[in-house]
Subunit: 366 residues, 4 copies
């Protein structure tokens, strides 16, 4: 809802800096009597974890999550049942080479939040980006693993659909392909091409942007709270809050601007079960801020990270002109690891709205 | 923050349906001792008001706003000074031809919120779209007029940058041109072309999408509350909550995905006053969710309205196949009137963050 | 939740000053498909309305409430069905003798909020107390009338249990007596005694304090959100926010401090239906912040109003010593009219927690 | 603001159960650049810590707090400077004799939250009371230590003013006496008497209630957000949310009910500095929900714990009649350890309102 908390009834509060002792989150509002395992959370974290290929930062974090509260132990170790009280999750930070950053303590990296944090707070944890580091998103992924459990039948999947100007070919879209390549790419041919292109980017010390698509299936019709808590507005807020995201769209998104009303309207016919069935999904599963029962489709654009080896003109905290080059370990395409993060934010927004309609307790009583 | 309220410390709660007795809003958190006139609010409302050209709905609403609370009268009639207590604004609904809608009471218009409201609430005010009508946005505009007063030196302007596939020519951008044509177009030549294109759309009973750009100047550096209350996340939420909006972007937006880190980074040099000065604004004035002091630039895509004269396949509330054609008075391009609404949402988000940093009382004491 | 809004899912936002054009509220979160009549709201307002006996202020307000949004008309005039969208209620202010207050515009009445509003906001609507007037509580009562409809079987009643040092005799408690006397007194004999005592207070231009008791029956077991949204914490917040209230207690309240664990514990035995049945209700129907299913019992103390005819030493806005005497029309015992207000706050808190558990939509689907 | 979070801009979210791996809290909204030491937090925790005298539970918890985020290290170990990002505090649970509770897993202790948690959530962590244990209040005390740092010059102190029917003699009130006895008693003679009385209670396996008084000095005039975020309403909510609290009052509190307007009004005269000076403080430092600049005075009643050795009639989870006796280590008077908890809640409420007025950043910029 605000500051370091996302959600209204399914509330995720994250804390921690890139190079502090630990990072963590509190999930407040998890319905009671929901079974989950620490392995399920870990599996999601492992998808986001750095150091898994040469296309992501070489920082090695085991990202071993612990469940500290809000549960009763299940039958085997690592099995839990939620009790309805806040669930605290925590990951110790282990691989922190703070010295990598010492030379940028007083320098503002262009395109980074260095200057704005200093202006706002008058103090900044410069080590690894501090609070503005993408490391915070690990806890979103952990919380998202719980959110996925809240709505029965919910399935939230994501894929990278563009790196730079190279888009996937939707005619070859195959969800099964996504975990098979290091890009979350649903199209094997495009993945091969991306590998070549990213190698060039990496070797030149540069970086490149990307576009991520999230598809949520099994979203019950009726979720979303008009006017300012529309499901799409909350998804937009959640996705835009991810590091480096500069654009968010639902369904046709910006392409809808060029369509006519005839083209864009999703017609309906009675379905086999007598309920309204849509003949298309330009709307991305949301009308008037409320889910239609179709798949919710969201995309977001991730800018190229400014942590590059090419020196850029900047200033330091004292107001002097300096040139800045980032030597730390970084991702040539931060958009890749944003895929599980985007899934998590969409899952959290949907879980939150599910509880707004059904209540924390009502959700498991129906 | 939720449901029918936007904002955290500058909180706007709107109420009312298209064809109810009135619509209104409560602005809670307005700092005390700020002078404003009802004419200033009315001027903003008049920019959004329907019936002003043949390109917007012919519904005639005077949209005469009244200030019911939260103020002491100033020296002349219609002058006010805020007292720090909630300001209630209200507009009577006067021109309601409910009969226009009687034939769609039981039919779901494709692309409209008819079906989703019914699924969610089990009841729906079908007259003019009820709560899902764009009429609600009048109160956003009214609240935005107050938000503009909160931050000294803030200037929020908007323009339509695309209708359908026709974009403005940025080399001809002229803010002075915006109020001179019925499209909020900053480019006279494009405005002429749009006039022709929209005439064709209107005559065929069709509709077309659009893209709006909002530019906020005078935004102090340092506004924005990481992690989940980032200024861009709140702007995204506010803009996405506007009727028919399907995409939101900040600065380079989706185009950033195709850029390299070198291209996208905004370099800095010490400015004449010794403070950091940016050499470009790809970021759209926001880094790490915090304003940089540059202009905040946001764009959003508005889909074509589904209220068209061409019959579309649909179902009715009883589950039967029907064809739906909307005969009411509607805008061929709802994106036009979204310009002042977008300005208002950006102004409200900025005012809210200004107060989060400085406090309701501190904002006027500094 | 904050400032001028009470509640989390059943959210009541009030606005308006004693001598402005109108007062009103927005009830956001009312479940859909709940039938109510304007007469039901009016009936509650009439119980709080001033000018009904010589023991309350002679200000004559018809307090005629209007329903402006959030409803579809029912079968007869004044009948409504909620649609799930915000319900706006409004009362025009009609009898405003602002001149009565002109001599206290610059003087701080001891015991009033005059000085604190000036210190906080640097401006104050002095007419009739402005926003700090008890007139605001009319909208709480109106909202409470809707809250009562949210929880099936809920019955919230209140009574005055003490004026000054004179307490009702609980052995004579008769709810049917409450509407028969001008004090909401459940004990006819005490009502007679209060009439005499209050006549003396009124004639001397003085005022006296009171204690109100609210009893809510039909509260489902399980309502209340540990830790900081406990049902008793929210009731305490709601009651303490009523003008002139200085103390709140639940069940045994302060008397519990003098009890032993044996005396205070409410023992249980299996009830006729097999469910736990309490043998006493020292807890006032709440354990660990969660309702037990017994009657929720709350009491609050109302201080004597400081609007008295005896001059009191004070200062003016310029810092000069002055003597202040309030000549306006006031209640000798403001606690009397606080009874329906207390009922409303308890009803709102219970409705809010009912929705937190079951959701806005789930509440009417079970 | 809700559920497991207290506060609006100074937000404290606590998590953890009595017998889980750890307990903790996240303090979101701490202004940047505030210096504090872990020793300062520890000192407050040590005042609340159990096992320090024979009058409190013999459970031995070192309650060693760690600071995990939101800070930059200061010059010496354990010194910190806040950065404006969330501060996570954590305490490992070390001394958990869960077996003590095994026999009450299925039995509802009268006066405890056992039954209500089961009814609400359908599951309950019975070990040591789980989430409903007073152990959670350790994190309130830790957060309160930070809250005390937010408002310059703020001093919040508490004292026990009654155990059972034995009240302190206010004519002997000496704040210096409070830390010298195991009761936080400001009156040495009463402390001696309480020692005798409590010995008897303890030996009989019984328990007794208490009343706590909190006095906050150095509260700036003007804090408090009418109407539903009044300073006294938020203090009432915070204090009522403490385990076993059944009543809260401000200033004269319930005694005000028996006073006349003349007696209760706090008269004013110009002070030496020309500003209004109160001649008394019946109001407890709050008028109209806004602080007057005088000391804020709050009291709360703590019921006797129901964990007693005398068997009480009850039921078990299966609905059978059982007798329950609590054999665990418990406090004969839980009100004693509530003193630092009450201080913490008042400090948090004041810090929150300080930030609402001045903003998170503005608070340290003035």
């Amino acid at each position: 809802m605000s500051h370091n908390t996302f959600g209204h009834l399914f509330r995720v509060t994250t804390w921690g800096e890139s190079h502090g002792a630990a990072i963590g989150c509190v999930v407040d509002g998890m319905p009671p009597n929901i079974r989950f395992t620490v392995a399920e959370i870990q599996a999601e974290l492992d998808r986001r974890r750095p150091g898994q290929s040469r296309y992501t930062t070489q920082r090695q974090e085991l990202d071993q999550v612990r469940v500290l509260s809000g549960v009763m132990p299940g039958e085997t170790e690592g099995d839990y049942v939620s009790t309805g009280t806040p669930i605290a999750l925590e990951i110790q930070n282990t691989d922190q080479r703070s010295k990598d950053y010492s030379d940028i303590a007083q320098r503002y990296r262009p395109g980074h939040a260095d200057m704005t944090y200093d202006v706002k707070y008058g103090i900044r944890d410069h080590r690894g980006g501090g609070r503005s580091s993408a490391r915070e998103t690990a806890m979103r992924v952990a919380a998202g693993a719980l959110a996925r459990k809240v709505v029965p039948g919910l399935r939230v999947r994501g894929a990278l659909v563009a790196i730079g100007a190279t888009w996937v070919d939707r005619s070859r879209w195959d969800w099964d392909e996504v975990p098979r390549n290091p890009f979350f790419c649903p199209d094997a041919e495009t993945a091969t091409r991306w590998a070549e292109e990213l190698d060039a980017v990496r070797k030149s010390g540069s970086s490149i942007g990307a576009v991520v698509e999230i598809v949520a299936e099994g979203v019950p019709a009726g979720l979303g709270a008009p006017i300012y808590g529309k499901l799409d507005a909350d998804i937009a807020s959640g996705l835009m809050s991810i590091n480096a995201v500069k654009g968010v769209e639902i369904g046709e998104g910006f392409a809808a601007a060029a369509l006519s009303g005839e083209e864009n309207a999703d017609e309906m016919r009675p379905g086999p079960d007598g309920r309204p069935q849509f003949l298309s999904n330009h709307a991305g599963g949301i009308l008037g801020g409320i889910s239609t029962g179709q798949a919710v489709v969201a995309r977001f654009a991730v800018k190229p990270t400014s942590s590059i080896l090419t020196p850029r003109r900047s200033v330091d905290a004292g107001g002097n002109a300096v040139d800045v080059m980032t030597k730390g370990r970084h991702d040539p395409c931060v958009g890749i690891r944003a895929v599980p993060v985007g899934e998590a934010m969409v899952a959290c927004a949907i879980a939150d709205h599910y509880l707004r309609d059904r209540g924390q307790v009502g959700a498991v009583r129906a």
